[in-house]
């Protein structure tokens, strides 16, 4: 048994399984009229990991019917299935892209040593297992998330809903706003409560693409923190000098529950958001844009002049930077630079530690990487953003009182 991936609690978000002689007790195409049944050991493992919010996917050198058969006999709803005859490492990369997670959040189970070697070589971040290894996986830390929330238990279903939503959107033809309206999108922003703490901690641990702090607890005035633990969030809720707002998201396809949150510190004239995070499932569904618009409107109503969002920039949270840019946030010293590129790189180089590892979703380490956050900000005095009618939030019509 080889475990090359560095052990970390709950680092595996999706297990990708081969079909022949792995999830099935034989070879699908060689079985004639009686396709093989499900492997009882791995079926049990799938169920146990699924309870923890770990997704399952298929990568098989078979026709698509084999995936449908495997879903039937295992009783499992696979979040993605890649059937074909190209390299398994390519199939895994496509699965990661489909699910919106990093390749290094995948584990791969295959009975064929050649396939394991191919994936292990091409994608060194993937945890590669034989079926025998996988039988023990539920006892390993990589498959043991520290907390399991209701959102986690529904994760497989939510990814299936996401596939239906994406298919509907591709054939829709209208604008994004029209689509969100048509499918009954509802974004609900509310003050966090004690019941939200486990999910807040989970979001802090899992989110990368919409995360303003890259996993490091921000300074909040509540004292130094070792990490964004549940206790840390409890302290924040109890602290008088900051607010924690949560974002819930649902539509006709399903209810994604609590998908995002932010911490807000109010000082005279200037509001600061030391932590902003959102699940990648909310991407492209108006939730981050609604939260940013609401923050600007709230700050304006309170008489603040500026809203600041410090953001550690790296190659993985480019989606967050896109949302900030779309909402009119800028890093002032960078914006003042005349020539595109070089001057901005200088401004971004406040955090020259750089060398941001991993991910590489939209580029590797580069001039805008660093652990010192760049402070994005915008004026809140003028041209308030519009909040769509499907957003319910404190201080807004139809929302709770602020």
């Amino acid at each position: 048994m080889t475990r090359e991936s560095p052990a970390g609690e709950g680092t595996v978000k999706c297990v990708v399984c081969d079909i022949d002689n792995t999830l099935l007790t034989g070879i699908y195409l060689e079985a004639g009229d009686q396709p093989p049944g499900a492997d009882p050991v791995l079926t049990t493992v799938l169920a146990e990991l699924g309870e923890r919010g770990i997704l399952h996917a298929l990568a098989s050198k078979n026709p698509p019917e084999a995936a449908a058969h495997t879903a039937r006999v295992t009783g499992w709803r696979f979040a993605a299935a890649e059937c074909g005859w190209d390299r398994k490492s390519d199939a895994l990369a496509r699965i990661a892209a489909t699910l919106g997670i990093g390749v290094d959040a995948l584990a791969f189970v295959d009975d064929d040593p050649f396939e394991r070697a191919e994936v292990g070589f091409a994608l060194p971040g993937v945890l590669v297992l034989s079926p025998e290894d996988a039988a023990e996986a539920p006892g390993w830390p990589e498959f043991s998330p520290p907390v399991i929330t209701p959102e986690a238990r529904r994760r497989a279903e939510m990814y299936a809903e996401r596939q239906q939503r994406q298919a509907a959107e591709r054939s829709f033809g209208g604008t994004k706003e029209e689509f969100l309206e048509t499918v009954g999108t509802r974004v609900t922003i509310a003050a966090a409560t004690a019941a939200d703490v486990p999910r807040l901690h989970e979001l802090a641990a899992r989110t990368r693409q919409f995360n303003s702090v890259a996993g490091q607890p921000p300074a909040t005035g509540a004292g130094p923190a070792a990490g964004m633990t549940q206790d840390w969030f409890r302290d924040l809720l109890a602290a008088g000098d900051c607010d924690v707002a949560t974002v819930r998201l649902r539509d006709a396809f399903g209810d994604d529950g609590l998908v995002g949150a932010c911490v807000v510190m109010r000082e005279a004239g200037i509001w600061t958001v030391p932590l902003l995070m959102m699940s990648c499932r909310a991407m492209g569904r108006g939730a981050i844009d609604a939260l940013l618009a609401w923050l600007v409107r709230q700050a304006a109503r309170a008489g603040a002049r500026r809203l600041r969002i410090p953001c550690v920039t790296n190659s993985r949270n480019v989606p967050l930077r896109l949302a900030l840019a779309a909402a009119g946030f800028r890093v002032p010293e960078a914006a003042g630079a005349a020539g595109q590129g070089t001057a901005r790189q200088g401004a971004a180089g406040q955090g020259p530690e750089g060398g941001e590892a991993g991910g590489g979703e939209a580029g590797g380490g580069n001039a805008t990487s660093g652990q010192v956050p760049a402070v994005f900000e915008r004026d809140v005095g003028t041209a308030l953003p519009v909040l769509p009618g499907w957003v319910e939030a404190p201080g807004e019509q139809g929302g709770d009182a602020a």
Binding site: D104, P124, G125, E169, R170, S171, F172, G173, G174, T175, K176, E177, Q209, F210, M283, G284, G286, I288, D289, T313, S315, V318, P319, L320, R321, L322, A323, A325, A326, R330, V331, A334, A335, Q340, G341, R344, Q345, A347, A348, E356, A357, G358, G359, G360, E361, A362, G363, G364, G365, N366, A367, T368, S369, A374
Partner: protein, 120 residues
């Protein structure tokens, strides 16, 4: 995982700049490239959103505004495609993503990075 730095993977645009060329680029040196890149970006946006009308948007169209409605999802896909196709890491070189102001500013930003030394 070792990151590829900006620029190291730069390669010329992979398409023929001769035949196509509706008025897209404004006129700096390398304008033909800008026009072709603009067409490429239009085609990608239309395919990614399923909205054919994006094939006809002018260079002055605001990407984040109502015309195109670029959001974090389509924006990420667009930047990924630009990196794959042109070897230009827009997010790595433009902290504020001001290059995404309009279709035209993005095409020019990409054109400049493909040909280092090309002056604006």
């Amino acid at each position: 995982m070792s990151g590829t730095g900006p620029g190291t993977g730069a390669r010329p645009a992979r398409h023929d700049t001769g035949g196509t060329g509706p008025p897209g680029g404004t006129g700096p040196p390398g304008g033909a490239d800008v026009a072709a890149i603009t067409d490429d970006l239009r085609a990608f946006l239309a395919a990614a959103t399923g909205r054919d009308e994006l094939l006809r948007i002018p260079p002055a169209a605001a990407l984040f505004g109502t015309a195109v409605g670029l959001d974090s999802l389509t924006g990420t896909l667009l930047l990924r495609e630009i990196q794959r196709r042109f070897g230009v890491d827009v997010a790595g070189e433009d902290l504020n993503l001001d290059s995404l102001a309009t279709l035209g500013t993005l095409a020019e930003f990409v054109a400049q990075r493909i040909k280092p030394g090309g002056s604006p």
